[in-house]
Amino acid sequence: MKHLKTLSGATLKASAEKGGCGECQTSCQSACKTSCTVANQKCENKK
């Protein structure tokens, strides 16, 4: 493409298929105890 470059594709909806296992880290157990962020957690289910 000339006008656009994709930095990352559509991944979220597909993640629903295998998602929801609940094994990933709780966000406030990492390095935030006041500012909630979830997008930086790692997925623990790479099946």
Binding site: L4, A10, G19, G22, S35
Partner: protein, 461 residues
Amino acid sequence: MVHRFSKKDVNILVDSASGAVHLADKAAYDLCGVLSPPLPKDCPESARKKLSEHYSDEEILEAYQELYSLYKAGELFTSDYDGAETKMSLSGAPVKALCLNVSHDCNLRCEYCFAKTGDFGTGRRIMDFDTAKKAVDFVIKHSGKRRNIEIDFFGGEPLMAFDTVKRTVDYAKGLEEKHNKNFRFTITTNGLLLNDEITEYINREMSNVVLSLDGRKEINDHVRKTIVGTGCYDAIVPKMKRLVRLRDNKKDYYVRGTFTKNNPDFCEDIKEMLDCGFTNLSLEPVVLKKENPLSITKEDLSRVFEEYDRLCDLILEREKEGQNFEFFHFMIDLEQGPCILKRLRGCGAGFEYVAVTPEGDIYPCHQFVGMDEFILGNLNDGTFDVSLSDRFAAINFYTRKDCLNCWAKYYCGGGCSAANQSMNNDLLQPYELGCELERKRVECAIYLKARRMLDLQTDSN
């Protein structure tokens, strides 16, 4: 929903619901701003007219075809995910993370402390092993099939209860095999009590350690004071340096601080941390009501935003010099991050994640401690209010109406229930100032990814 933003000549389109992120030239960026779904196959005349003063017809039509192909591929103007309720258990969710407040006492008297200088207003007390043991039994019982169980030793200052910490770790590890669980221990400490024995223990047993430091000595010491009112910087920094130096680099650590109205120039505090040799950093805005002189208020936002921009520059600058560092709130995984179901519900407070006090009281999270109306139960009398827990499990950004129209909801997970409660007296009403800061941080995180990709392409050409 598409969020567009430009930073330093990088034009970014974030397709919120699909997670796709695109970089656009000016024509495609401007054109995207005048389109709304559903997109027809050919460029709408109204959109063409709006841009015709600035771009040729050929440019507009070409850019439109590229935008349209992303739209058709489900990477632009996608609609929100609507399968949530069938995928999520909205009641009886397993508890899999404990914030174990082993000490409701502290050896510091920090001026902004949300724990009211350590005891959360509930009286200074250390958790005995019997209560900690019950907490481990509780999480095993309530975790269902979840294998990974997290226990964060918190307080107050958890090293004031080091004996309880050690005995709890031993006890939990002793139960792993029998119950098919994998315990991960973390600790959040102000560092004052670190000695050789404790340092070695933390580096061996804790998968993550969070060390509290606000940065420059004068900034840190102005708010993080000992019981006699002196600053703690000189006492803690050498101990933290030693711990980090001796730590296995496969294990996490964070030096985590808080910034307040006193230090809107917090990049200088980040630099101080870097000068100390720390490279995994977190610095969060203080959460205080606006009446408090240390609070970050609306008037501070533009200055704080500027500083986040400076921090992006600092990160890129250091990377060029081979001195990479991590800033927790700019870390983002656009490809392999958490699944959409995690993002819908956010932090898990009150259902997946609970805090336990020395008295055995169970709260939705560490920030709820002391709010009696939110006590979920008590370990000593065996109570656990499933209906209150279910109330938290049912919170997601569909139930937080103000989140629905926010592009960043898939990144923050709908925000912090505790902040909503303490600022707005309503679990479901987002703490808007916190939202504004979060949106800025997400923009910075995405910008950094974009900048790196563009720099890589420039280097390879």
